[in-house]
């Protein structure tokens, strides 16, 4: 187990390096250069001045050297200055916006897990009856309909028709409700579907029949014997769920004007703010890779049948 954890953690390094390399290369392959005098609105610089600027920014160095510099700086969380918000460094913006995204994402994930498990269990226990249809319908909507479309429907329903919640902002917990629900529905649907399938399998297993045969009541049978075992495969879902909540936050934060990293990312896309784009992609990548590692290890702890 310990050796496996170490090995898995060490695999993180090449994965992250590859991620950084891809990000770096893609950004470099982008046509146009900040020094390019042909670019629209660029300063008509003389070739000497261009050369000097390139040297000042290290752009005259060979590509691999630039990549090493990028990695070393990124490891120290130094991503340079934002192109759009010229007075602020990217790191400053991230420090400010990441906690907001983390709070939103955390709440959404908690809601998704709690709601998804509840719906999944209800659907399995009442298979092919009312609850099953309610939960399957909800899950299908959550899985199929993109969250920015759900957001539009929610705003119209719960802000315009029934004015319960504001259309956006992040000042008070009342602002948090709609973005959290919108972000949670997709992952919730996936978890509910998966839990339902897993529960159905376990409920038909021999040990569940044994538990019933012993004369146990329905409640302990479902929660103690069935659910415990049904949960194990659901845990593997958590990794992709982190990714879903992470990338989903781009859209939800944009629509609900949440001052988080996702919204800044979308704004930096339209502003072609390359330092910002690279930093956000790497931050998400690192965060998700670590979460995947944690989930993998957790899986091993929960399922004693898995040996490393």
């Amino acid at each position: 187990m310990f050796h496996y954890a170490i090995r898995r953690a060490l695999w993180l390094v090449p994965t992250l390096l590859a991620m950084a390399l891809v990000t770096f290369l893609v950004m470099h392959a982008t046509p146009g250069s900040p020094l390019d005098p042909v670019a629209e609105g660029a300063n008509p610089l003389s070739p000497e001045a261009q050369k000097n600027l390139a040297r000042a920014y290290g752009l005259d160095k060979p590509l691999y050297e630039q990549f090493v510099i990028f990695i070393v700086k990124a490891a120290r969380f130094d991503f340079g200055t934002s192109f759009v918000y010229k007075t602020r460094t990217v790191a400053e913006i991230l420090v400010e916006t990441f906690p907001v995204s983390l709070l939103l994402g955390g709440m959404a994930l908690a809601l998704a897990v709690a709601g998804g498990l509840t719906l999944g269990i209800l659907a399995a226990v009442y298979q092919n009856r009312g609850w099953d249809y309610v939960s399957v319908t909800l899950a299908t909507f959550g899985v199929a309909v993109p969250n920015f479309v759900l957001a539009v429907f929610f705003i119209i329903l719960f802000s315009f028709i029934i004015p319960l919640f504001p259309t956006g902002g992040w000042d008070s917990p009342r602002n948090w409700v709609l973005p959290t629900i919108t972000l949670a529905l997709g992952p919730m649907g996936v978890i509910a579907r998966f839990t339902r399938a897993s529960m159905l399998e376990v409920i038909r297993a021999d040990y569940t029949r044994t538990a019933r045969a012993k004369g146990l009541a329905e409640r302990p049978v479902v929660f103690k014997h069935a659910l415990k075992n049904a949960l194990i495969p659901v845990v593997t879902l958590l990794g992709p769920m982190f990714a879903a909540v992470g990338t989903g936050s781009f859209f939800v934060e944009s629509i609900f004007r949440v001052p988080g990293m996702g919204r800044f990312f979308v704004l930096s896309m339209t502003g072609r703010d390359y330092p910002m784009i690279m930093a956000v992609v790497l931050t998400y990548g690192v965060f998700l890779a670590i979460m995947n590692l944690v989930v993998d290890l957790l899986y091993g702890v929960l399922d004693p049948r898995i040996r490393y």
Partner: protein, 299 residues
């Protein structure tokens, strides 16, 4: 003596192969028809494809025709779904938007299959060092969140339909390659493959005639689910402004622009939202039906 029953079984099974290849599909088709949701989904999908093909005939106006006298109008008799901020007919723009969605949904899958299936099959069938390199590569790609990577590639390539194909194709093949590899890996050990090889079938014949056709089911399922995913990706990209180039209409872009004026001009955002929701649900229902029909065990 003990051989006789086995021989009899073989004799009984023998006629089957002459129509078995079409019978799996026919069985599956019959099972889909019994699934009401899948049928509804299928009908909606066919309608959407027809709308996309005949957009020129169906659209009452051109998607670029502006009418500056009637900006941001709610639905009227002239403009059934209203007009946008340039006085363009929303209905016409949505009809042409279907074309973009369907093109991306189907086109991206063709690219994904063309890249992913050969790589996965080769990796699984050849094994050894080729397999090791490819699996490592696929693992790293897999760790990268899909949408994030697509957005990154789009930000480098710039907006445009062709670039969307490239971005989705570059990132999407990984999943299908993984699946194909797993299938081929287990199939190549089966007796019928050994039998084919023993009968003198070469590398190519074994792989393409014997192994791959049997690996087809999960590939078909993955493609049916890949279509709505690609449609979603295009809508999401266009929503944040790195997808389709204006003035070509895209549903995602219309939602993205319309959501800023949701209170004053609700129609700009609501109708494209409904279109996306219906399309995504239809493809999901159809995909569920196809999966259940092709592999009842998977349910």
């Amino acid at each position: 003596m003990a051989v006789t029953p086995a021989a009899a079984t073989v004799g009984a099974v023998l006629p089957a192969p002459s129509f078995s290849s079409s019978s799996l599909m026919r069985d599956a088709f019959r099972r889909i028809l019994r699934n009401k949701l899948a049928v509804v989904g299928g009908i909606v999908v066919i309608l959407m494809v027809l709308i996309a093909i005949f957009a020129d005939l169906l659209a009452p106006y051109s998607y670029t025709k502006t009418n500056f006298g009637r900006l941001n109008e709610p639905p009227t008799r002239d403009y059934l779904l209203g007009t946008d901020n340039l006085g363009r007919d929303l209905l016409s723009r949505m009809i042409y938007g279907a074309r973009v969605s369907m093109l991306v949904g189907l086109g991206a899958q063709i690219i994904i299959v063309a890249i992913g299936v050969p790589i996965g099959a080769l990796s699984g069938y050849v094994g050894g060092r080729v397999d090791l390199v490819l699996t490592r590569f696929v693992d790293v790609m897999y760790a990268f969140p899909r949408l994030l990577f697509v957005i990154l590639v789009m930000s480098a390539l710039g907006a445009g339909l062709m670039n969307i194909f490239i971005a989705i194709g570059l990132t999407g093949w990984v999943g299908i390659a993984r699946q194909t590899r797993a299938q081929v890996l287990s199939l190549k050990e089966k007796e019928f493959v050994e039998g084919a090889r023993a009968l003198g079938a070469g590398f190519r014949r074994t792989l393409f005639k014997h192994v791959l056709p049997n690996a087809l089911t999960p590939i078909v399922v993955s493609v049916t689910f890949g279509i709505p995913e690609a449609i979603f990706t295009e809508a999401a990209l266009s929503f944040i402004g790195v997808g389709i180039n204006p003035p070509t209409p895209s549903w995602g872009q219309m939602v993205g622009e319309g959501q800023q004026y949701l209170r004053s001009y609700w129609h700009l955002c609501v109708f494209p939202s409904i279109a996306i929701a219906i399309t995504m649900l239809a493809f999901t229902f159809l995909g569920d039906g196809v999966r259940d029909a092709l592999d009842p065990k998977l349910k």
